[in-house]
């Protein structure tokens, strides 16, 4: 028996590696996070915004980068390359090369002086090779030989790219060393080989953008105004080389007419790259919208084959681009790009189907190439070092039912390494891979880590004078372009209790946390105010910083200058500045009155509940059980299996019933899983860690829950005469009766009841294109003479599904596109009329079978939504906490989601998402306790008279009346008092408003803080006595 080791190597520090590392580290595994670049963050840090919510990428990723850096169980190994892996599952030995940075990590402060002084410029990968103008107007790359990778880099350390350094190569220069005050430059550093022992490996190596130079007809690198989407992203970004001004490289002018060319390096069999890169359509739409937001007068064209907006919120985003932003989408492949020698404009030649038919040309100021996702730079490493099986493109091959496992046991894979995908899918998959490693190593949890030692708390007595530190964050340009941060910081300093104020570029950056910690120590600060962005996302970060230095995390307040001031009053700079000062003043008044609070450890029930016994629910239940926690599994129907039972054959040839039987056998044989079929949950009470409910009359208790309630086919009553004639059926009905049906001519109509203009079904159902193609192949393979027509809007066979699309076209299936303006018509006699834009005329088809492709709609979930207080989107699917980075969590603690109840998806996608949800439950249950919210209600027993109004009003049943008998010498007195359950109280404050004797306070939001804050905000400048605390 091999001895297992409780640590995991995660290879790749992009969003996938980051998520997997956090999920493992949070449950007591030691994680070695290995990244070949000098900073973690991967591709996402290069992005300006993320689709479809246009969240600022750095704003949502930044806190995660910091989480990784500060996590005691994560060893961050940046600028390291793994070189060999030996051993076997549970006990591997991994060697890696720690590349010389030529900078001593312990001495470097990340101040950036070396970068400023270094006289040599080199190609700038971070800015995708773009250049910027220097003071004399010359084009310079944005990077020096010695540099910090990017402003928010983690770790924020300089490094020298040795092959271009004059000192290292020729012994001349040495300027950086002379200028480095901390003495961190070390030209003699050498690469080191280091070996670590680990139990499992997670591969998250990701991708590079396809090299557009490989397609010579695009003239990338030759015509200056042909750029890639990644370069355009950097142009849009406020911290990019042009500081967010969109200019074209040839003459620095703002382009007024730009074109995106889709599928560069994807869907192109002629260069042997047939897969669809899955993310570039949305990427281009996002950039198109951003270009419009930067300059509403710019004309934007997108040349595409199909717009693949198949994810949650994508179709709606696409429609917004058309309707709200007036972006022109042209379904055509550009056949030629020429340059106008006079002005460097680009002349595009393409076939136009909508305007004047025939070959047209159009002159553009700038052309942007939507380059695909290319994993091939990792091929050598994956194949030869890890011995993994790869497909022809370089993606790791996985089994559809084991999407997280590779051919090498103990080596798991997630993210783009196993196929092109967007960020939410990557995040869900990364959590899933973490689940697999956690299950493997469950018995050696907590064996490799050191206990977290928090520093001794800084004592803050209520009578101590307030010593407040204030940070006014620039947030790059986000705040500073409207508000004078320096002035606001100076203003804050005028208040007597404010002993420290500064205005950092990014308050959330890792180095600012260090500055803040130092300031707390140096200035003996006992309260902190950060004026930056919304506390809803960023308060936890600053609170942990306080904790790390021993200051109570509740002695903190966040002022929202970005969302509530600079972004919404960007044209009223003077008033915005005043408002910023008012809000900071209010926060000072509030913060002076804050009290330190302690969080209580509350025992939790180390059991889980999974609702829904389909593929996702069974997978989640099995994973949680295998990790060592008992699971209740509830299925509403009489048997397990869900919708998969109704799919005879999947697109990959697997049989639905066989998949179900396999899972079912495992569930039934698992003594750790208690199964309830034909059952529903009732009488839910409690909250995270301590839920209670009743199933089939049996009381159950559980700490966390996964909702895997699934989806079902939409019934298209009223669409295309469905229900009126027996030969008009749905794809599902075709599959159910496949053997009995023998049609000669089949017309399939896509998007029936989906992609509509009004909710609830405005969404693309993701899987129906593949479903129709699967059935067309099955029909053709059974009888090559059958005519199959597929009438579609866009064919959305993303990733390797593109192969099926190609296959059915080779088999002779005919695809005819339709638009919303000219939908196909099914005549009473069964004739189908469709306008073919390629031919420019209406076709009449007389099929003997019409098959409608209908979307998945969520199974009834209203009751559960109300019971667990979790929201649903306008599409009626469950709505996750954050569409990009928290795709499997609900906003409410302890409740997670998986499978098609979240959004339509394929079986393998449900499986990895279910594993991902499982790992969240594992991390919740692992410690065996919860920490209470500190900001809860408190009842002063001396004042309480036991009237019970608070008990009545409390929505969480967190207050109970207790009768106590007090024995006196002469008599026994009974008293009734109300008590708060700290594990259940959420701190809403409803109780205290109702208390007739004001016996109740809510910690952190007591009356005095709110009143002081309001009063201080309302102080007029002329009434303000600067010498007093507001």
């Amino acid at each position: 028996m091999i001895e297992k080791i409780g640590s995991v190597a995660v290879i790749g520090g992009g969003i996938a590696g980051i998520q997997a590392s956090l999920d493992l580290a949070n449950q007591g595994f030691l994680v070695h996070l290995i990244e070949r670049n000098p900073s973690i963050g991967g591709r996402m840090v290069q992005l300006d915004k993320t689709f479809p919510t246009l969240d600022c990428a750095m704003c949502i990723l930044g806190p995660k980068l910091v989480d990784v850096q500060r996590h005691p169980n994560i060893k961050l190994l940046t600028y390291c390359e793994p070189s060999s892996l030996s051993g076997s599952i549970g006990n591997f030995s991994l060697k890696y090369i720690k590349k010389a940075r030529y900078v001593d990590a312990l001495k470097c402060t990340g101040c950036g002086v070396c970068e400023e002084k270094c006289p040599y410029w080199i190609h700038d990968d971070f800015n995708a090779g773009l250049t910027r103008k220097d003071k004399r107007g010359r084009d310079k790359p944005a990077r020096k030989v010695i540099s910090i990778p990017f402003p928010q880099a983690v770790p924020k350390l300089a490094y020298i790219q040795a092959e271009t350094c004059r000192y290292i190569q020729k012994g001349k220069c040495g300027i950086c060393q002379k200028n480095c005050d901390p003495g961190a430059i070390d030209y003699n550093q050498k690469d080191e080989e280091i070996e670590i022992q680990i139990g499992a490996v997670i591969v998250a190596t990701g991708f590079d953008p396809f090299s557009a130079e490989k397609i010579s007809s695009l003239h990338f690198g030759e015509f200056p105004n042909v750029v890639t989407t990644l370069q355009f992203e950097r142009l849009l970004n406020a911290s990019g080389p042009t500081e967010g001004e969109v200019i074209r490289p040839s003459d620095q002018r703002n382009p007024k007419k730009i074109a995106f060319l889709q599928c560069v390096g994807s869907r192109n069999p002629s260069i042997d790259r047939n897969y669809c890169s899955a993310a570039c359509c949305m990427f281009a739409i996002k950039e198109a919208i951003m270009a419009k937001e930067h300059d509403p007068s710019v004309e934007v064209y997108v040349f595409y084959i199909d717009i693949r907006a198949f994810g949650k919120g994508f179709e709606e985003f696409y429609q917004r681009a058309i309707k709200e932003f007036k972006i022109n989408f042209i379904k055509s492949r550009v056949s030629e790009i020429r340059e106008n020698p006079k002005n460097n404009n680009l002349i595009l030649k393409y076939e136009d189907f909508e305007g004047i038919q025939g070959v047209t040309s159009e002159e553009m100021d700038m052309v942007i190439l939507s380059t695909g996702l290319d994993p091939s730079s990792h091929r050598d490493f994956l194949e030869n070092c890890l011995n993994l099986n790869l497909d022809q493109y370089g993606f790791v091959i996985t089994d559809p039912l084991k999407p997280l496992e590779t051919n090498r046991p103990g080596v798991y894979v997630c993210g783009v390494s196993s196929g092109p995908k967007d960020i939410p899918d990557t995040v869900a998959q990364a959590s899933g891979a973490a689940a697999k490693a956690a299950i493997l190593l469950k018995d050696v949890r907590n064996t490799q880590i050191e206990e977290i030692k928090l520093p001794r708390p800084i004592k803050v007595n209520l009578t101590d004078e307030s010593r407040i530190g204030v940070l006014i964050c620039h947030c790059g340009h986000n705040i500073a372009s409207v508000i004078d941060c320096k002035e606001v910081a100076e203003y804050a300093k005028t208040f007597p209790n404010v002993v420290y104020a500064s205005d950092p570029m990014y308050a959330c950056a890792a180095d600012t946390q260090e500055v803040l910690k130092e300031a707390i120590k140096e200035h003996k600060l006992n309260r902190i105010i950060v004026a930056s962005c919304t506390p809803r996302t960023h308060a936890p970060l600053f609170r942990s910083t306080l904790k790390e230095v021993g200051l109570n995390e509740f002695l903190f307040d966040l002022v929202n200058l970005r969302e509530h001031v600079s972004w919404v009053h960007s044209h009223e700079r003077e008033d915005a500045n005043e408002k910023a000062k008012d809000l900071v003043r209010g926060a000072i008044a509030r913060t002076c009155r804050l009290e330190p609070l302690l969080k209580e450890k509350i025992p939790l029930i180390q059991k889980a509940l999974v609702i829904g016994g389909g593929c996702a629910g069974m997978t989640s239940a099995l994973d949680i059980s295998k990790a060592g926690y008992p699971v209740y599994l509830i299925e509403k129907e009489d048997q397990l299996g869900g919708e998969l039972l109704k799919i005879p054959v999947l697109h990959n040839g697997m049989k639905g019933i066989e998949i179900v039987e396999e899972l079912k056998k495992k569930v039934l044989n698992d003594p750790n899983i208690t199964l309830f079929t034909g059952a529903e949950l009732a009488d839910l009470s409690g909250s995270v860690g301590n839920f209670k409910g009743i199933v089939n009359g049996q009381k159950i208790e559980f700490g966390g829950v996964i909702l895997a309630t699934g989806a079902e086919s939409f019934i298209p009553s009223g669409y295309y005469n469905y229900g009126k004639k027996s030969n008009i059926i749905t794809q599902k009905e075709l599959e159910e009766n496949f053997d009995e049906l023998d049609p000669k001519t089949v017309v399939m109509i896509q998007c029936v009841g989906s992609r509509e203009s009004e909710p609830p079904r405005t969404y693309c159902s993701r899987i129906c294109c593949t479903g129709a193609i699967k059935n067309s192949i099955r029909l053709k393979e059974r009888n090559p003479d059958v005519n199959v027509f597929i009438l579609y809007k866009d064919i959305r066979t993303y990733g390797d599904l593109e192969d099926y699309y190609l296959k059915t076209r080779q088999l002779g299936t005919i695809f005819i596109r339709y638009t919303d303006e000219r939908k196909p018509e099914v005549k009473i006699k069964g004739t189908v009329e469709i306008f073919d834009e390629m031919l420019g005329r209406t076709l009449r088809i007389n099929p003997d079978l019409i098959v409608l492709s209908v979307p998945l709609v969520p199974k009834p979930n209203e009751k559960l939504s109300q019971m667990f207080k979790v929201p649903r989107g306008s599409d009626q699917f469950f709505l996750e906490a954050h569409i990009k980075l928290r795709p499997i969590d609900f906003a409410t603690d302890g409740i997670f989601l998986a499978g098609t109840g979240h959004y339509p998806k394929f079986t393998s996608e449900s499986i990895y998402q279910a594993s991902g949800a499982a790992v969240r439950v594992m991390a919740l249950l692992a410690p065996g306790y919860l920490l209470s919210e500190g900001a809860i209600a408190e009842i002063d027993q001396d004042i309480c008279r036991g009237c019970g109004r608070c008990e009545e009003i409390c929505p969480y049943k967190a207050i109970e009346l207790e009768v106590k008998a007090i024995e006196l010498e002469t008599e026994t007195i009974k008293t009734v008092k109300a008590y708060v359950n700290p594990g259940v109280c959420k701190g809403c404050g409803s109780c205290l408003v109702t208390c007739p004797v004001t016996a109740i306070t809510v910690k952190h939001f007591p009356d005095k803080t709110i009143e002081a804050q309001v009063e201080s905000i309302l102080l007029k400048t002329e009434q303000l006595d600067i010498k007093q605390t507001p």
Partner: protein, 148 residues
């Protein structure tokens, strides 16, 4: 005073408006207005509370006494409350407070209860713009300073 003078006063008057916004819906709605860059008047000062049910009528009265020209209490739509029914409690209390304002002889339309969800960034901005206009039309609050 001519109409022009009145207009001038109206235009010059920058009311101060306090918005008590619940953390889960209305504060998030204000965040969304920000993320979507929807502009609204800068007179608005948001005070974050965990639940609209936390807003004590005393806070509102004190705000008026200290010089607020208008107050909005903003919470989740009925049924959406993070704390189940805090918003309904707020509704009852705010309605009573509005009655109290009338009894005191103050303008009841200076206080408003609004339901604004986390996805209604646009509506947040609209409500703020519209309420600001309404308060501008009313002019500066006439209590406060004298009765303080």
């Amino acid at each position: 005073m001519t109409q022009a003078d009145i207009n001038l006063i109206e235009n010059d008057f920058k009311p101060t408006i306090i918005v008590f916004a619940c953390n889960w819906c209305s504060y998030a709605g204000a965040d969304l207005a920000g993320v979507s860059r929807i502009q609204y008047p800068s007179n608005v000062r948001i005070v974050r509370v965990m639940c609209s049910g936390r807003v004590d009528p005393a806070f509102i009265l004190k705000a008026f006494l200290k010089g607020a020209d208008g107050v909005i209490v903003a919470g989740c739509h009925p049924g959406d409350c993070h704390y189940l029914e805090g918003n309904l409690k707020a509704e009852e209390r705010i309605n009573n407070t509005i009655k109290a304002l009338k009894v005191l002889g103050w303008e009841a339309s200076r206080l408003r209860l609004e339901w604004i969800s986390a996805s209604e960034g646009k509506r947040f901005a609209q409500v703020m713009a519209e309420f600001t206009q309404q308060i501008k039309n009313l002019g500066p609050i006439k209590i406060g300073i004298n009765q303080r």
